[in-house]
């Protein structure tokens, strides 16, 4: 009789929160759909808001790029009369989308962006469209900063896991303290040291540029090797600092996981250390780091302005500086627009995929 009582009680307790029959599964689809819709709605609102903010920021910069440009043309002596001068100004203002009131410009910017997928011609090298300049610079930046970010993340994860796992060993302490030092150095400072020693002193690597200018840019072995050779120093400067930071955050995660009860219990199950590390430590440490990597990848597109400048690398960061210096509103705005779109898209993708890889993140209809 007492067994009956116990079984009944147990059944009650062992009952699942919801029975996964077909009916309830169908109802579950709707919270997922509403989550996705809400997320996309938020994406669009944020996109509009940040593009608007960027637009007005660049319009508020003092100075008139068109007048400066026309002035340059005049100095070359093509036109001199007042009428032609004014006509030219009006022509170029319309061409660059800088004519009419601010509101008019605002709407024409969005019309161009959304309907023509056009961000206007660049002042830097008129009449080349700004977007073309960016597309020319983007592969260099993605190659340089993308490789550096991924490399830094992977190495940082490995080193952080190892130093966390062996936190009582002397070598792990030495590595951790070293990383602590490097994590606080600015990348350009490391870059200066690398240029001085690896380039000028020991003449191992070229100090600037993206490839040997004597070669033709083409898919030849020689050219690719030259790109790698020229890219090594800037990548190294970025990676050293990135590894230190990723390592420290990973180590902190791993150490906190090592103190968790489920790790003690995994040991009490008699699992071998390697299994505990791979299935219990890594699985719980890499989830937050993947989300963090996603955020970091957003920064890849903007490039590292200082690093690109320092190594005279023809990436987006260098382009942005050139554009701002001569008040090339279109190019600068185009870079910022693309950056905004990419960062927000990456965030959207992370938000939509995280529930797939992390079982604890649940899609709920209301309230999140």
């Amino acid at each position: 009789m007492d067994v009956g009582v116990e079984k009944l009680a147990v059944l009650e307790e062992g009952r699942l929160p919801a029975s996964p029959d077909k009916h309830s599964r169908k109802r579950r689809l709707s919270p997922t759909a509403s989550y996705i819709l809400r997320r996309i709605g938020l994406f669009l609102i944020t996109l509009w808001g940040s593009l608007t903010a960027a637009f007005f920021f660049f319009r508020l910069l003092p100075g008139d790029p068109i007048r400066a440009y026309v002035g340059q043309l005049q100095q070359r002596g093509t036109t001199t009369t007042f009428e032609t001068n004014e006509a030219m100004l009006a022509y170029y203002q319309k061409e660059f989308g800088l004519d009419g009131s601010l509101l008019h410009q605002y709407f024409s910017y969005f019309r161009r962006l959304l309907i023509d997928f056009d961000l206007g011609p660049s002042v830097l090298s008129y009449p080349t469209p700004a977007i073309d300049l960016i597309m020319r610079a983007l592969p260099w930046t993605i190659g340089l900063i993308g490789v550096a970010t991924l490399l830094g993340w992977i190495l940082g994860m490995i080193l952080g896991t190892l130093t966390g796992w062996n936190r009582n060993r002397t070598w792990a302490e030495v590595v951790t303290n070293g990383a602590l030092g490097f994590s606080h150095l600015p990348a350009y400072f490391v870059a200066l040291f690398l240029i001085i020693f690896l380039s000028y002193r020991w003449k191992l690597l070229p100090p600037n540029g993206a490839f040997n200018t004597a070669l033709d840019p083409e898919w030849s072995m020689e050219f690719v090797l030259s790109v790698i050779k020229y890219g090594t120093l800037p990548v190294l400067a970025t990676v050293i600092v990135a590894v230190a930071n990723w390592m420290l955050s990973t180590r902190a995660l791993v150490v906190s996981i090592l103190g968790e009860d489920y790790l003690t219990f995994a040991g009490a199950k008699g699992l071998p250390a390697r299994r505990i590390l791979s299935a219990y430590v890594l699985r719980n440490a890499w989830l937050p780091q993947i989300a963090a990597l996603g955020m970091a990848l957003g920064g890849v597109v903007s490039g590292n302005v200082l690093i690109e400048r320092l190594f005279r690398y023809p990436g987006v960061g260098s382009l942005l500086i050139d554009a701002v210096l001569i008040k090339d509103v279109n190019t600068a705005m185009a870079i910022v627009s693309i950056l905004i779109i990419l960062v927000l898209t990456i965030n959207l993708i992370i938000d939509l995929t995280l529930p797939l890889i992390d079982p604890r993140v649940k899609l709920t209809g209301a309230g999140g």
């Binding site: 116990e6 147990v10 062992g14 489920y262």
Partner: protein, 358 residues
């Protein structure tokens, strides 16, 4: 209340055959300031086949450290282990668990000794399904993956869970369900001993009772011995056959749970039982044990309880008492109570410091 009481009446008789003998076990920790924390210091305990033995004692008395030492769990690098933990395997072989290498110890865990840890709320990895966490223990002990998977529903059923639980993640389970999953893992390799360290502490009284009932049922069905650690004497009174009282890193009294709670011998045990309120007694103030637990890096000289003991004699402050057996007659005479001692052992000068002189 009724279900467990009825069950207790039909408890199978435990054999006298020892299963695990803890002999003079020391678990010391070297401190940074050069001191030595003797958290467990010369503890003696015998666990027999098919019995439930309870370990009681206040916080800091070394209960958890003792069972973790039996399991070979070592959280800190400054640990120093002394003494023996003799395990009598099913094939008659006797091995000293304290002398095994970490690799050998890993094989003993789960297959010989199952563990239900303190803090079961967080003892399952949050990112793995329940089934995977049950399976990987069995797989690491040489079972094939498919065979281990096939065993999961049966294990869940044994601890009173629906087999659909296997597809869930820990955060989808209630506290009692998590505890049951952990018990399922503990019994998955059919060990001879289950060590349950405060298995019911974080659970409410209803769930607590069901978990205890499940443990008792498993003992009857599988014939395992259970070491039950709890500071809650009421839990022991309900569940265990024999009780061991720990104080300051040592076992100070052992014996059958009912006679011991009825007629405690050691003044510390007496203090513990006096602190249990009863429904029938008239309203009265409960006097706790005066003083505080001493610190493990500075145990009192002589009997470690002497400065809190109301019966302390001059020799108590000088000579540490030994854990000795007392005869039936001696216990009766001392307490004027009609009771069976069930080989009562006590470590106190009130009952003679050497061998039983009766």
């Amino acid at each position: 209340m009724t279900d467990t009481q009825v069950q207790s009446a039909f408890r199978p008789t435990t054999s006298d055959e020892p299963l695990l003998e803890v002999k003079d076990l020391d678990v010391h920790f070297r401190l940074k300031n050069g001191g030595l924390a003797r958290v467990v210091d010369g503890a003696n305990l015998t666990i027999r086949r098919n019995e439930i033995i309870g370990i009681a004692g206040e916080s800091g008395s070394g209960k958890t450290t003792l069972v973790e030492a039996i399991l070979g769990i070592n959280r800190f690098s400054n640990r120093q282990l002394g003494g023996q933990v003799l395990y009598h395997a099913r094939n008659g072989e006797v091995m000293d668990l304290a002398a095994l290498s970490p690799h050998q110890m890993a094989r003993v865990r789960l297959s010989e000794i199952g563990y239900v840890p303190q803090g079961s709320m967080n003892s399952l990895s949050p990112t793995m399904r329940v089934a995977d966490q049950i399976v990987d223990g069995m797989v690491s002990h040489g079972m094939s993956k498919s065979k281990a998977r096939a065993k999961v529903p049966e294990l869940l059923e044994k601890v009173g869970l629906d087999k659909r639980v296997m597809r869930l993640y820990p955060h989808e389970l209630s506290g009692g369900m998590k505890q049951r999953v952990i018990i399922a893992i503990g019994i998955s390799m059919e060990p001879s001993i289950i060590i349950a360290d405060e298995p019911t502490t974080a659970l409410d009284v209803n769930v607590q009772r069901r978990i205890l009932a499940t443990l008792m049922r498993l003992r009857d069905e599988m014939g395992v011995s259970i070491i039950m650690v709890s500071h809650d004497v009421a839990v022991h009174a309900e569940l265990v056959d024999r009780l061991a009282i720990m104080y300051a890193g040592q076992v100070v009294e052992t014996g059958g749970v009912r006679p011991m709670l009825k007629a405690p011998l050691h003044p510390y045990t007496k203090g513990l039982t006096d602190a249990i309120p009863t429904i029938t007694a008239t309203r009265q103030r409960i006097d706790g044990i005066r003083g505080v637990t001493p610190s493990p890096d500075n145990w009192p000289k002589g009997c470690r309880f002497h400065n809190r003991c109301q019966y302390a004699m001059p020799q108590c402050a000088e000579i540490p008492p030994q854990l000795v057996s007392l005869s039936d007659e001696r216990v009766k005479a001392l307490n004027q109570v009609e009771t069976s001692t069930e080989d009562r052992m006590v470590s106190c000068h009130l009952y003679g410091s050497g061998a039983d002189r009766d």
